[in-house]
Every structure is written in structure tokens, then in C-alpha cells.
């Protein structure tokens, strides 16, 4: 039972444009959401997070939006850079000792 879904396995954008990665979840108990970035042959690294009490969190070029009523969150990268090319995982936590990941979206930013 996949409680966190990333329905787009891949996304390709041009350098300088906006990248939008989407994530849907089914468990209404999730109250903390994260995005991780993963390069080949490396472990995931934390990118940005958002609590369910907020609807937006921004960190430099990265912004995460949360729509609780739709059980949907998205990651915006503006402007996209070739170094952003990686696999992005959405994750959600319902409490302090559990976290569920989506399957990931492979982002390719073309020069």
C-alpha cells in the first residue's frame, strides 16, 4: 500500500526554467513532509521540509507547497540548473518514528 505517490517517474526541463515535482499522499495522519535529493551511487540528502501547519516553505531556489485538502505537495525549483539533475524523493511522517517515501522522480535539467 503506497501511501506516498510520485506519479511522474521522470521530468526533463531546460536550464533556467522552473521544475515542478509533484507528490500525493493518502494518509491524513501525515503531518510532516520532506524532499530528498539523490545522486547516483550516493545516499539521499535532505533538501527541504514543511510542517502541516504551513502551506509554503522556501529555501533559496527551492519552494515546497502543501495543499492539505488535496493531500498534495509539490517542489518548485527556480531557476533550474544542470546540477539539479538527480532523483527527488518525497517523504511523509505521521509521527516521530516512521517515514514513508515515494518512488522518486528523476529530474534532468538540460543546458
Amino acid at each position: 500500500d503506497q501511501q506516498v505517490k510520485q506519479n511522474s517517474p521522470s521530468l526533463s526541463v531546460q536550464e533556467g526554467r522552473i521544475s515542478i515535482l509533484n507528490c500525493d499522499y493518502t494518509n491524513s495522519m501525515f503531518d510532516y513532509f520532506l524532499w530528498y535529493k539523490k545522486y547516483p551511487a550516493e545516499g539521499p540528502t535532505f533538501l527541504i521540509s514543511i510542517s502541516s501547519i504551513k502551506d509554503k516553505n522556501e529555501d533559496g531556489r527551492f519552494t515546497v507547497f502543501l495543499n492539505k485538502s488535496a493531500k498534495h505537495l509539490s517542489l518548485h525549483i527556480v531557476p533550474s540548473q544542470p546540477g539539479d539533475s538527480a532523483v527527488y524523493f518525497c517523504a511523509a511522517s505521521p509521527n516521530n518514528n516512521d517515514m514513508r517515501f515515494g518512488a522518486g522522480t528523476r529530474l534532468t535539467v538540460k543546458p
Binding site: P44, A91, D98
Partner: protein, 114 residues
């Protein structure tokens, strides 16, 4: 980079053989985790530890056991490996439970069970 190493980095083994993966940290973090990553599933938690000799099950713990005899080492054992356990295994550490934005991952171990 957080001081997390995993060994071996790659392993090929046969069905039915025991396999032990090691995670070693130099950060003295209390919590350690084992995840597996499979296509179409993202990362799934196998087991985690909240101290020496203190462990608990995660989402996909069947077929796996863990041990933590020292703060710095967390071992994952497949008592009798099966082909369904072919995966990439990641260790992670954190200072506080649930502090996921401060959870650091190791480089991963690619395990193939033939």
C-alpha cells in the same frame, strides 16, 4: 559530510546464504536506521535502533535481523538470503528520533541475491 560508511558497497550472493551488512558512524548519533530502496517503492524502513542493544521493527522487517552492540555500528543480517532481498540498502543516522531533516544517509550497499 556526515561520517557514515557502509560495507561492503557491493555484494553478490546465492539464495539461502547468510549475509551481514555493516553500517559504521563516527558522529556518535543515537539513532540508526536501515532502509532498502527498490524501483517503484522508494525507500522503506527495515529496522531502526535507538541505542545500544535497543532496536525496533520498521515497515519491511520480515527476513531481516539487526544488532547494535556499540554506538557506532549497526549490523543488518539476512539469515537466509532470497532473491526478493536483492536491493540497495541504505543506512542512516540521526541525533534525535523524528528529526528527519537531520537524518544523514550512507552511500548504500548494492546486494544481489542469485
Amino acid at each position: 559530510d556526515a561520517g557514515i560508511t557502509q560495507s561492503p558497497r557491493h555484494k553478490v550472493t546465492e539464495t539461502g546464504t547468510p549475509v551481514t551488512l555493516r553500517c559504521h558512524q563516527t558522529e556518535n548519533h543515537r539513532y540508526m536506521y536501515w532502509y532498502r530502496q527498490d524501483p517503484g517503492h522508494g525507500l522503506r524502513l527495515i529496522h531502526y535502533s535507538y541505542g545500544v542493544k535497543d532496536t525496533d521493527k520498521g515497515e519491511v522487517s520480515d527476513g531481516y535481523s539487526v544488532s547494535r552492540s556499540k554506538t557506532e555500528d549497526f549490523l543488518l543480517t539476512l539469515e537466509s538470503a532470497t532473491s526478493s532481498q536483492t536491493s540497495v540498502y541504505f543506512c542512516a543516522i540521526s541525533e534525535r528520533l523524528g528529526d528527519y531533516n537531520e537524518q544523514f544517509f550512507g552511500p548504500g550497499t548494492r546486494l544481489t541475491v542469485l
